[in-house]
Every structure is written in structure tokens, then in C-alpha cells.
């Protein structure tokens, strides 16, 4: 919302050691898109650049991949500089390096992502389910998740196939 006032001041491009491009994206602010192999490298670079607070890890179930979004802040600066790291893992092999060694707060967020979307985090210290029982089958936030007990919300206002099945 207010990232306009800090353009030019932060100099993200120089700070980042791996020459990964940080671009400004509408609605999100500064965004760094990396391949999944580079996530650890990018995270270390950002951490060294002073981004000390990771506030969420979100997974989005796209048709053939799972998009992961991390948001990190530099809490020490007066005007907040936030960077969103985006990466993608294929659905056939949803594995990615865990960021918990870098930001401890990633621990539960990654567990949640594993629980609800089935992304495996390599090197996670405590890879259990977060909300669901340990013996739960399936990953509920995936679009193709089916459960007999699930009551599908019937609504006439739908324009997305599969919503009112």
C-alpha cells in the first residue's frame, strides 16, 4: 500500500548477493522470484541483508504446480521494506529446502504448508502435521481434495468449473 515512498531508498538490487532480480509487483510490493533450487541461497542472502523477520509461508495450489510465497521484513528500518519470495514446486515432486535453519519462525508455517498442501520441506526439524490428525490422508487445501464428509457449498453465483459439484 505504501511502498511508493521507499523506492530508490532501499537499494535492494545491490544488496542481494546472487543477482536475483527484485521487481515491484502490483499488490505485493517487492518480489523476488527464484527457482526452487535457489531458495536457500536467496534466503541466506536476504537474511544477511538484514531481513530478520519471516511472517508467513503460503502455498497456492496451481493446476500443475504448487506456488510457495514467503514474506520477509526488515523490521529494523523505520519504513518497512518487505520482500516476497516466490517459488514453485511441481506437483509430482513437491519437495523444497526448509528455511527453518535460517528463520526459526518458518517452522510452524512450513508444517502448516505440509499439512494442508503436501509440500515436503527438506531439512525441517519437526515434519509433522500441524492442524490435522497425524493419520489424516490427503492434503485438504489442494483443489482436487475430496472427502465424503465434505459438504460442498451450493451457490448459483459461480463461474468456475467444479465449484458446485
Amino acid at each position: 500500500m505504501s511502498n511508493e515512498n521507499i523506492v530508490g531508498k532501499n537499494g535492494q538490487g545491490e544488496k542481494d548477493p546472487n543477482e536475483l532480480k527484485i521487481v515491484e509487483e502490483k499488490g505485493l510490493g517487492y518480489t523476488l522470484t527464484v527457482a526452487r533450487e535457489d531458495i536457500l541461497k536467496a534466503a541466506v542472502g536476504l537474511k544477511e541483508a538484514g531481513f530478520d523477520l519471516l511472517t508467513f509461508v503460503a502455498g497456492v495450489d496451481m493446476p500443475d504446480s504448487i506456488k510457495l510465497t514467503y514474506r520477509v521484513y526488515s523490521s529494523k528500518q523505520k519504513n518497512q521494506v518487505a520482500v516476497i519470495i516466490k517459488t514453485e514446486v511441481p506437483k509430482s515432486d513437491p519437495v523444497i529446502d526448509s528455511l527453518t535453519p535460517i528463520w526459526s519462525s518458518a517452522n510452524w508455517h512450513e508444517r502448516e504448508t505440509y499439512d494442508l498442501l503436501g509440500v515436503e520441506f527438506k531439512g525441517h526439524p519437526d515434519p509433522r502435521r500441524m492442524f490435522m490428525p497425524e493419520d489424516w490422508v490427503g492434503y485438504p487445501l489442494r483443489k482436487d481434495y475430496k472427502d465424503d464428509r465434505m459438504v460442498v457449498f451450493e451457490d448459483y453465483r459461480t463461474d468456475r468449473p467444479g465449484d458446485s459439484e
Binding site: 500500500m1 523477520l53 511472517t55 497456492v60
Partner: protein, 397 residues
């Protein structure tokens, strides 16, 4: 107490016992007292589980040596539900997230959708949102102080704080008819304008609380036993807090002025004159005091907001009932009573959000609970959980 745990313990003990016996033989000269840790199941139905936290405590006498929290008892699949509802249909669900400060949740969600759909909110609506968000912050902090007092064993302050909170709820009730889950904020504005005479009553309440909060400070925070109980207990440094992802009052109590209202300003907060309260020690006492000080700052904001409140429409023109934002992503966050509350929405251009991710501050704050509280006395562990102030509607979502 569950029987399953106990049987597990006894099975595991057989091997351990043999080891221990062998160990004792080698050191016969030293008198050893055989002690065993008590495994205590705390919650999910416990008076101070703050909702439905379940944790396994390992107790060495009165000292808690290990904490393993289990969450998910209040998981209501809101993120999944959001994918099946239209943008405005999801609005009431946000109130059920952090039900102690539902106004902030509604606001954060509305802000994200507005960002996504490029909706300009009228100024009066922004001011009304600020007014109610600050009232909500006061109400939430009063509830925090009340429950903390009760957990510390002082039962009377509970009623004093609830009395004040009740007055805020009356104001809310007059405004939108609800006392807890308001559904007041709408995408593009707010749902109702102020009733007649509301502002006068609100000002009267603000003036009243300005005086009474000082008395409560003396009664609760200034008390000898309370200080003795809270000071220096479960402290953490700023670095550790950041590493754990703690935000909100617990982070500010370590000396970091991280407040979204200032560091990533939104709405009309840049026009308000207020201080971000910080404390130095990051112990239980600071975490309580900072809430009381924030109430005072919120009162300051409220006075200014009521003074500056402009006339005009309360909801943006031309906001369709079924919003259809362009495909894209947006993230917006507000400073809720508990910290950095954000919504991340992915839109595929249809009538319903493709994915809604809620970044709840309680979730991150609770994550640090085992690390903070391990090694403290049982009574202090309960208080530490209280000062982190998790709301389980938001933790489990």
C-alpha cells in the same frame, strides 16, 4: 490424563530403569535420589488454555522442563471455505478468526480486496475504521489485562476491566448491532454510519477511561506481589523474538518499535499523532505494561480521529455486490491487537478468491511459547502463555 501416554511411559521406562540401575552401581558413593519427570497433559480443556491449546508439559517438581504444544482443535478450514465463497460472502468469516479483535480482521481482509480490485475508500469510512479499530484494540487489551490478572490470581481486576470493555461493547452494539462478531467493515467502506449522539457518548467514555486506566495501573501493575510475580520471568531478547517471528506487543516489549501503523502506514494513521510504545526487558511484566500503555495511546488516536472526522459517504460508489477483481495477487496487513495481521489473496479473475492465506500473529507468537517458557515454574508458564495472548480462532483458523 490419557491412559495411552501412561502406558507408553511405563514401556519406555523398563529399558531406562535398567540403564539407571547400572548407572547407580558405578557411583555407589553418591547418594542418589531417584526422580522422575511428571508428564502433565495441559488442555485442551483447561481454565487457562486460552481456548483450546493442548500442551504436554514435562514437570520436574514445579519446574516445566519441556513443552510440546498441539494445535488444531479449533481448525475450521476457513482458508478452504474462502475458496468456495464470493469475496463479500467471506467477510463474516473474518470476524470469527480473531474473535477478540474481529474489527481488525475485517479491515485487513477488506484492505486486501480493495488493493486487489483498486477500490478507493472514502475518507469518512477510513476515519470510522480507525475509530473502531482503536476501540477494538482497547477492548482487546482490556480483555488481556483482565485475563492476566485472573491468571495471576487477582480476581477482582477482572471485573473492572470487563466493566470498561462492556462500555465499548455497548458502543459497538449501538453501531452495528453485534457485540463480538461485528461484520462492520465492508469492502469499500463500512456498513453503517454513526447513530445520533454516538460521538458524545464515545468521547465521554474516552474521558472516563483516561482516568480509570491510571487507577487500574496502580491497582494491578503497581502491586508488590504482581511485580514480584512477573518481573524477570520468561524474558527474551529482540533477536530471538525476531527469529521466532513474534510481532505485536511482545516484540515491542523487547525494544523494537515495529508497529505497522508506523512502519508500513495505512489508512489515515500518518495523520495521527501517537507514539509507538516500547519497553526494554521483554519479560512478562513488560508484556503486560505495554498493553496498558497502548490503551493510552489508542485513546489519544481516538480523540484525534473523532476531532478530524469528516463528512461524506461511508462506502465507495459502484462497488458491485459480486466483486470480480482482475487476476493477480495482493497482500495487505494491519496492526491488530496481537501483532502483524495480514491477508494474502490470489485472484484468478473470477467471483471467488483462488486462495486466501491468513497471516495470524497469534500463530507466530504461540510458536515461540515452548522456547520462552521452558525452565519456568508451572505458575509462570501459564502466565507466559497469557502474556503472549494467543487467540485460538486465529491460530487454528
Amino acid at each position: 490424563m490419557s491412559k495411552i501416554e501412561e502406558t507408553k511411559v511405563s514401556k519406555a521406562n523398563l529399558a531406562e530403569l535398567e540403564k539407571e540401575l547400572a548407572f547407580d552401581e558405578t557411583r555407589e558413593s553418591e547418594p542418589t535420589l531417584k526422580t522422575e519427570e511428571l508428564v502433565l497433559n495441559f488442555g485442551p480443556q483447561h481454565p487457562s488454555a486460552h481456548g483450546v491449546l493442548r500442551a504436554i508439559f514435562n514437570l520436574d517438581g514445579e519446574v516445566v522442563t519441556k513443552i510440546v504444544p498441539y494445535i488444531g482443535y479449533l481448525h475450521r478450514c476457513f482458508e478452504k471455505i474462502a475458496e468456495k465463497r464470493t469475496y463479500s460472502q467471506f467477510m463474516p468469516f473474518t470476524d470469527r478468526m480473531d474473535y477478540v479483535s474481529s474489527m481488525h480482521n475485517g479491515w485487513a481482509y477488506a484492505m486486501t480486496v480493495e488493493k486487489l480490485a483498486d477500490i478507493k475508500v472514502p475518507e469518512r469510512a477510513e476515519y470510522l475504521r480507525v475509530i473502531f479499530a482503536e476501540f477494538q484494540r482497547i477492548a482487546s487489551h482490556l480483555l488481556f489485562l483482565a485475563t492476566t490478572a485472573t491468571e495471576a490470581g487477582a480476581l477482582s481486576p477482572f471485573f473492572y476491566f470487563f466493566d470498561e470493555r462492556e462500555r465499548i461493547l455497548w458502543l459497538f452494539e449501538r453501531l452495528c448491532g453485534a457485540r463480538l462478531t461485528y461484520n462492520y467493515v465492508r469492502i469499500g467502506g463500512v456498513s453503517a454510519d454513526l447513530p445520533d449522539g454516538w460521538l458524545e457518548d464515545a468521547l465521554a467514555f474516552i474521558n472516563r477511561l483516561e482516568k480509570t486506566i491510571l487507577e487500574y495501573d496502580k491497582l494491578l501493575l503497581g502491586g508488590y506481589i504482581f511485580k514480584k510475580r512477573m518481573k524477570g520471568v520468561a524474558p527474551f531478547s529482540a533477536e530471538r523474538a525476531l527469529d521466532w517471528g513474534i510481532t505485536g506487543p511482545p516484540l515491542r516489549s523487547t525494544g523494537i518499535p515495529y508497529d505497522i501503523r508506523r512502519s508500513d502506514p495505512y489508512s489515515v494513521y500518518p495523520r495521527m499523532d501517537f507514539d509507538v510504545v516500547i519497553k526494554d526487558n521483554g519479560d512478562n511484566y513488560d508484556r503486560v505494561c505495554i498493553r496498558s500503555d497502548e490503551i493510552k495511546q489508542s485513546l489519544k488516536i481516538l480523540k484525534q480521529a473523532i476531532e478530524q472526522l469528516p463528512d461524506g459517504p461511508i462506502i465507495a460508489d459502484g462497488v458491485a455486490k459480486d466483486i470480480r477483481p482482475p487476476a493477480g495477487e495482493a497482500f495487505a496487513h494491519v496492526e491488530s491487537s496481537r501483532g502483524d495481521l495480514g491477508y494474502y489473496i490470489v485472484s484468478d479473475g473470477s467471483i471467488k478468491p483462488y486462495r486466501v492465506k491468513i497471516q495470524g500473529p497469534s500463530f507466530a507468537n504461540l510458536q515461540a511459547f515452548p522456547a520462552i517458557a521452558e525452565g519456568a515454574y508451572l505458575g509462570d508458564v501459564v502466565l507466559t502463555l497469557g502474556t503472549l495472548d494467543p487467540v485460538f480462532g486465529e491460530v487454528d483458523r
